[in-house]
């Protein structure tokens, strides 16, 4: 065997000749590029695979679902779990409840939030920062910390186990966000807007509705979408402030999907229900990608 010294020397010579043949750094750049794309592929697979697996699982007959031979694609495919979800369970009702609650709270939060944000962003309002920080403090509130207080309040108002009760409690986490993002949108508009509107004799409220709001359409869509998603996904309040099926929303239904017996977990229907509630969200998020990213990061990066 050659001494280590010789082998290094040979290596160096080979490497030198190699460098003469190909442009310097070419191989390294190639390998680096390959590695880079491998990392990217890894990220994409890691992000998307669990959802893909839920989708395939939802189309597999139970025989294939509960088998140790994995099938990457459902064959044969079946809709039996979807049928179970919609006809064997109350899932349609759960979906409707979720729509009412998430839609309702988004509407209320946008209405209240825009009025407040207009005052905070465009009008002379001395306690502006105090109000903004008060509202921000509310965002930071852990839901669990007001659970017992809200529970007793909703019972006293006779709003326990009602849609209105859930909508009211969801303002806790949708309203602050709406106020903050809309305030920053309003502040970004040019001053001349209202001035010309005032000159034309429009009152501030008319200015808000006719001039300012139409210009903040994108902002409204983003905040509306984010608060809708937050409400659609909420679990703790929905679990605690509802009893039985009447107002039960989708997350609670999915968390407690029961099988025929207490020991049998119906994974097929659970995956089918998961796909049904997730698909519209994924589509919405992909459609509004840019705006959502802007909305999510606006508060954090710019302050």
């Amino acid at each position: 065997m050659a001494r280590p010294g010789t082998s290094t020397l040979v290596h160096a010579q080979v490497a030198a000749r190699g460098r003469a043949l190909v442009r310097p750094g070419w191989v390294r750049r190639r390998v680096g590029r390959l590695l880079f794309y491998l990392i990217i592929a890894g990220i994409v697979v890691y992000s998307v695979f669990p959802f893909y697996w839920a989708v395939t699982s939802s189309f597999k007959p139970s025989v294939d679902l509960f088998s140790e031979r994995l099938k990457w694609i459902p064959s044969p495919a079946t809709l039996v779990h979807y049928v179970t979800v919609f006809f064997g369970a109350n899932f349609g009702k759960n979906l409707l409840n979720s729509l009412i609650v998430a839609g309702g709270v988004t509407g209320v939060a946008l209405t209240l939030g825009c009025l407040a944000a207009y005052a905070l962003g465009r009008l002379r309002f001395p306690p502006r920062n105090a109000v903004l920080y008060l509202v921000l403090a509310m965002t930071m509130f852990p839901q669990i910390s007001v659970l017992s207080g809200l529970f007793v309040l909703l019972q006293a108002l006779r709003l326990f186990n009602t849609h209105v009760g859930l909508i009211l409690s969801y303002l806790l986490f949708t309203l602050p966000f709406t106020v903050w993002v809309m305030t920053s949108y309003f502040r970004g508009l040019p001053r001349e807007l209202e001035e010309s509107a005032y000159v034309d004799g429009a009152s501030p409220l008319v200015t808000l509705l006719r001039v300012v709001l139409p210009l903040t359409g994108p902002g409204l869509v983003t905040t509306g979408l984010l608060s809708f998603i937050a409400a659609w996904n909420e679990f703790l309040f929905a679990l605690t402030f509802t009893v039985g099926e009447r107002v039960r929303t989708v997350p609670v239904a999915i968390a407690f999907f029961g099988g025929a017996t207490a020991y049998e977990v119906p994974w097929g229907p659970i995956m089918a229900a998961s796909v049904v509630v997730t698909t519209p969200l994924v589509v919405l998020v992909l459609l509004f990608q840019q705006r959502i990213v802007a909305g999510l990061t606006a508060g954090a990066v710019k302050g």
């Binding site: 990217i40 990220i43 994409v44 890691y46 998307v48 669990p50 959802f51 697996w53 839920a54 140790e68 994995l70 209240l112 939030g113 009025l115 407040a116 207009y118 905070l120 009008l123 002379r124 309002f125 008060l134 921000l136 403090a137 930071m140 852990p142 669990i144 910390s145 007001v146 659970l147 017992s148 207080g149 809200l150 529970f151 007793v152 009211l168 309203l175 106020v179 005032y198 501030p204 998603i229 659609w232 679990f235 703790l236 989708v250 997350p251 999915i254 968390a255 995956m271 997730t278 969200l281 994924v282 998020v285 990608q289 959502i292 990213v293 999510l296 990061t297 954090a300 990066v301 710019k302």
Partner: protein, 292 residues
């Protein structure tokens, strides 16, 4: 328009929001603090009895509370640390120019878009002890010597929960950090390249220091979220196998045991814990706001 007039209108517009804040946050919070000083059940069957700080003294001796506190700390530290590192890697990758960048950015949004309860169920199925993807593939490819009941063993349950949380929230972290990266002017890197600084030095000397404000905000944001973790734990383990966190314990005492007083005391402790971090948050964000 008259200034006085404008201020009055502003008050009028802000009033509904302030009323909502008082109704759903202020008043309930006041009540929670008051309840914590009484011995009472949530259905109000017995008349409430004043116990002062008794519940708080009891908390100090309660092994369940101590364990929940420890579990919450474990969960928070583990998930936030891994999310930050992974998020930074993903952000750096997306920040560079390459074909199909939009597709990757869209793909990482998928976990974020999926409701927490749903992702918990999806992962619970993937981690199923017999038919779960992780076990079957793990054994097939020799990564696991035998199947593991991930969620049924105290040694692995918390790790599994952290893994799911990491999957769910790394996108948020990555997007925040990406926004921060985009604020760093390209000229700095160009200058470094001209001076012949290698990539790792550019990362340590330019990227990391200039990203620190964003990193801090993202860290605090995520910490706040992790400290109140509830959905993942309740769905995946129900709080069993050494995974019960403060929020899960809190709801169990409050709703399942109907103990309004003691449950409220736990709520107050969670709030104090979180307020410490809010203070930190306001400190950092307040500073960037003033600099604006």
């Amino acid at each position: 328009m008259l200034v006085r007039h404008q201020t009055r209108l502003a008050w009028l517009l802000v009033l509904p929001t302030l009323a909502a804040v008082v109704l759903v946050a202020g008043y309930p919070l006041f009540q929670v603090i008051r309840f914590s000083l009484y011995s009472a059940d949530i259905a109000r069957v017995r008349p409430p009895k004043w116990v002062g700080l008794g519940h708080y003294a009891e908390l100090l001796r309660d092994p369940d509370f101590r364990e929940a506190l420890w579990n919450t700390v474990r969960f928070t530290a583990g998930s936030v640390f891994i999310e930050t590192v992974l998020g930074l890697v993903v952000a750096l990758v997306i920040h560079s120019q390459f074909a199909g960048r939009g597709v990757v950015r869209a793909a990482i949004l998928v976990p974020w878009a999926i409701p927490t309860v749903v992702s918990a169920q999806m992962w619970k199925w993937m981690l199923h002890d017999i038919y779960g993807f992780v076990n079957v593939v793990g054994v097939q490819f020799g990564l696991l010597s035998r199947k593991v009941a991930w969620l049924a063993r105290p040694e692995t349950a918390m790790g599994a929960l952290i893994a799911v949380d990491v999957w769910k929230t790394t996108p948020f972290m990555a997007l925040l950090l990406l926004a921060g990266l985009q604020l760093i002017p390209d000229e700095l890197y160009e200058a470094a390249r001209v001076d012949g600084a290698p990539a790792w030095q550019q990362f340590l000397r330019i990227t990391l220091p200039l990203l620190t404000p964003t990193l801090t905000v993202a860290l605090v944001f995520r910490t706040l979220d992790a400290l109140r973790v509830f959905d993942i734990v309740l769905v995946m383990t129900g709080g069993g196998n050494r995974t019960e966190t403060l929020a899960v314990l809190n709801r169990r005492i409050l709703i399942d045991f109907q103990d309004l007083g003691y449950g409220s005391a736990i709520s107050v402790v969670i709030l104090i814990l979180i307020l410490l971090f809010v203070g930190l948050y306001l400190h950092t964000v307040g500073r960037t706001l003033r600099e604006d």
